[in-house]
């Protein structure tokens, strides 16, 4: 099985003598149990990375001037290899259309299409900036996603928490919209806040503590509001971290030590101020912490 296991889009071909070559191809392409399968995977990862590197280097004017023709040749080589791979994938699964419509199938198609488009539509260069074609070619990097099982796990974890994430993010959007508008009102276009969207953009740079500095408040009131936003954005990280650490350290240090034991039932972990065992009801011996201070004798506990 490939590290991504078998998503529903990829079904092995029917078993049988007639499907011999297809099954062998399937084993190599989609599964990684055999030596050939693993070699194929490694080779493909290497080709994907090399192809992305070519796209990246080709965007640098100096490098393009010197190696441009070499890159074009390499680009065509990669495109041909990826086309062969795509056709091979389609031909050895049971339901080719299903694979072609799956996320990875679409990525595989986008990986080869731009170069063909440039040929088939001669005037394309004039219409679409070559930079866009570079971007489309760069999406090949997403083919790597199939090879890392943890990415699928990460995706599932995000999906599981998606409501919490949505609520949190919508709260953040509400705050930055209000604060951005406030700064737009206070500072005004004269100081760079030319419209509410610009104010929101500034509010996001400030609350996420990125702080580009291309737009900054100049008035005193603006700086006060900015300070509030900065403390809010940074505090959203610092306050929970501090509270959790304080609790964690307190537990560890022995605010609720693990050594306070009930003599009757031997259960542990009783609070410093508890007088009776919570599991059997027997009275607990008085507790002295490591500093020699006796816990208060009062009966009422609580945080």
């Amino acid at each position: 099985m490939s590290p991504a296991e078998h998503p529903d889009d990829v079904t092995p071909p029917l078993q049988g003598a007639a499907a011999g070559w297809r099954l062998r191809m399937y084993t190599v392409i989609f599964e990684a149990d055999t030596r050939a399968g693993r070699a194929f995977d490694l080779a493909l990862i290497g080709l994907i990375l090399a192809s992305v590197a070519v796209v990246v280097l080709d965007s640098m004017a100096a490098v393009h001037a010197r190696w441009g023709s070499v890159f074009t040749v390499l680009e065509w080589t990669f495109t041909l290899i990826f086309t062969v791979e795509y056709v091979a994938r389609l031909s050895c699964v049971r339901q080719p259309l299903r694979y072609a419509r799956s996320p990875f199938g679409i990525i595989d198609l986008v990986a080869v299409l731009p170069t063909y488009l440039a040929i088939l539509v001669p005037g394309l260069h004039a219409l679409i900036d070559v930079r866009v074609l570079r971007l489309l070619r760069l999406f090949r990097i997403l083919k790597l996603g199939a090879y890392v099982a943890e990415f699928a796990m990460l995706g599932r974890a995000l999906a599981a928490s998606r409501r919490k994430i949505l609520v949190f993010m919508s709260f953040v959007l509400m705050v930055v919209t209000i604060m951005g508008t406030l700064m737009y009102v206070v500072e005004g276009p004269a100081h760079g806040f030319t419209s509410i969207p610009v104010g929101v953009y500034w509010a996001i740079t400030t609350m996420t503590t990125v702080g580009f500095g291309d737009i900054t408040p100049k008035t005193d009131l603006g700086r006060v509001i900015a300070s509030l936003m900065m403390l809010l954005g940074w505090g959203t990280l610092a306050v929970p971290t501090g509270i959790v650490s304080a609790e964690f350290t307190a537990q560890r240090m022995g605010r609720t030590p693990t050594t306070r034991t009930c003599h009757e039932c031997l259960s542990e972990g009783h609070a410093p101020d508890a007088r009776f065992c919570r599991d059997c009801g027997a009275p607990l011996p008085a507790w002295q912490n490591d500093h020699g201070h006796q816990a208060p004798a009062s009966g009422r506990g609580g945080s």
Copy 2:
């Protein structure tokens, strides 16, 4: 019940035949159990978002020049709808004054007032910047708060921790005030630190790691102090995170990582407080951690 449940400010009208239309309206407006109630909620959320979008777009000079009149018409439509909604809310609760004074009641009023003020007070545009009116209209976004139960939960969580938050924030304020004044002394107005408040503003941008860059230290001593502040601000996040992670990973690893072995089936990784092997059911030998403490023989383990 609406997702926000019934806050005390919203009490259903008295039950009875005479209150028939009021009760039906109450069910639609404040509750989301029926189809009509949910449709009303969704429609209102849509209107709020559309209204906010209009305010945002209207602030962009280019868009305003082109669509200004359309926006004015839309703005009046929204204001009328929100007015009708506000009056409906007031008329179907048992204590209208109580709702009007509640937070959501005030937000509903502020949502409609600016447009009426602009009419009733003709010279208002000259006195109050149209930008302020935009800000007031934007507060409609807070009406969304009633529809997300998690916001109420978030509010309660914050309220529960408010003393800790206040202490932490006052500590931060003390630090930035002292550090800001120190930089004001060291760098001086010549380098941008024109007064203590400006120094405090700079200290906040630095400690929260925002770092706009509009004011930066130029002297060597100033840069040393700045470095201390940066390490303090970033360390407030990094040090607890690191300590908690180290503890967490240590616990996970078992401090006696995977070496607790079942003598029957040789499987590893048993919990410190487990008494039977989870794979074969055989009893596990008592476990001693590396500090020489024997795990309790009772079934209840410690933290």
Copy 3:
């Protein structure tokens, strides 16, 4: 007892009739049990904050020009009040010299000294920038520390972890020194990196994600090194946070669900792949997660 309890530096006067007024004064100043004690504390906190506000406002040129004389009068009032308070404190503890040498005693002295120095040493204004005197007056804010018990707790927590903090910080200093020197070598004085300390300052702004932007890498290699530093600084926060969250969520979500119950002893929280109850040894029923996938039948568990 005052919220800070009694530090060793503050010992109540001897009990006795002769010490009547001293004991009464002590009760008011150092303790907060009585109405007078609490009123004194509140009044003093108010005076400290007002005094700090005066120092801050006085540093703003526009405000100083207008209210300068008022501020001077207020400053003298505060100084006299704080002097009387200081003398009162000294006179009602058993060991005045001990209090005078304690941290809070020194703060109290620094709080009043600058204003007297300005009188006693006429040429001081010429020698020491008035800004320095403002800084010294601002240290009064530290008197507030005695009123917040949590600050003492915070101090103790930091002291407990101080070795970990020192090791972490020295590691960070090593990294920024090496990286700063590397950038000094790669970019050179031409691009702003005029010496190793400047490179270290830049490395700190980058690793702590502050990113002022006053110095930025211009060469390609410099930008690569900068990218590594940024990922290192941000990753120091993100990687542990992510790992701890992943573990936490995994536990919560039911990698060890809370619903898998042993039919014999009714204990819960068994691992998905456990086959025997860890508390009584009875066999556990097979478990199916919510995706319909059956846990593997193998006996070996482990992370």
Copy 4:
């Protein structure tokens, strides 16, 4: 044993009368049990720090102009001392070649080599920037690594999590590559995004919330994409922190915060799984949380 314990590269010399001086030297250099051993360690740490300070100060033009000759003398002194130390280390371990090839052995060699190279290869100053030599000398700081046991622990912790870290970092690299190319397409060379690598550099400064500001988006679409990246980078820290804190606080609060009350003594705040009141020993009634789930009747509670 030295704090780093004995790595495999450092093996004590054979025991025996003939190896007397070697064993004594070994005890002093590599072990810290004796007074001489500890004194040696402290002296060496002091020398390393002093040597690094000299390199750092020498890079500052003003300081170099004034103290240059003193620094040269000091530099030679340090080099000679470190050479003697290196030779001593090599001569008192059993396998000198093994130590010379170990990480610390290489660091020791690099610590002394630059100064000798400058002598042996007269034209070196012309070929290699003196800045590079400074960098090489600065690597002496890594010799400190042997003296802090926690660094070794940190290294092991990182090694244990290395797959998780690699996966996370490769995910981040994929995101910044795609986003960087997207900005290169949207903003273009006119706004500073001259090539894909520059776009990736910008994407890293934005996602890690550093935000230098040397390159900023100017178009509306570019600012929208930038906002998404900022929220993604900051959210990667904030969302897990918030979720973990919420869970942690919920557990602490008991999910039924303080309302679980003992019927006998009316104390509150009992744990969800407690069966007896910790203050009076009376049995507690079974607890139902707000979702209608009854807590298990067994003594063992769920997670």
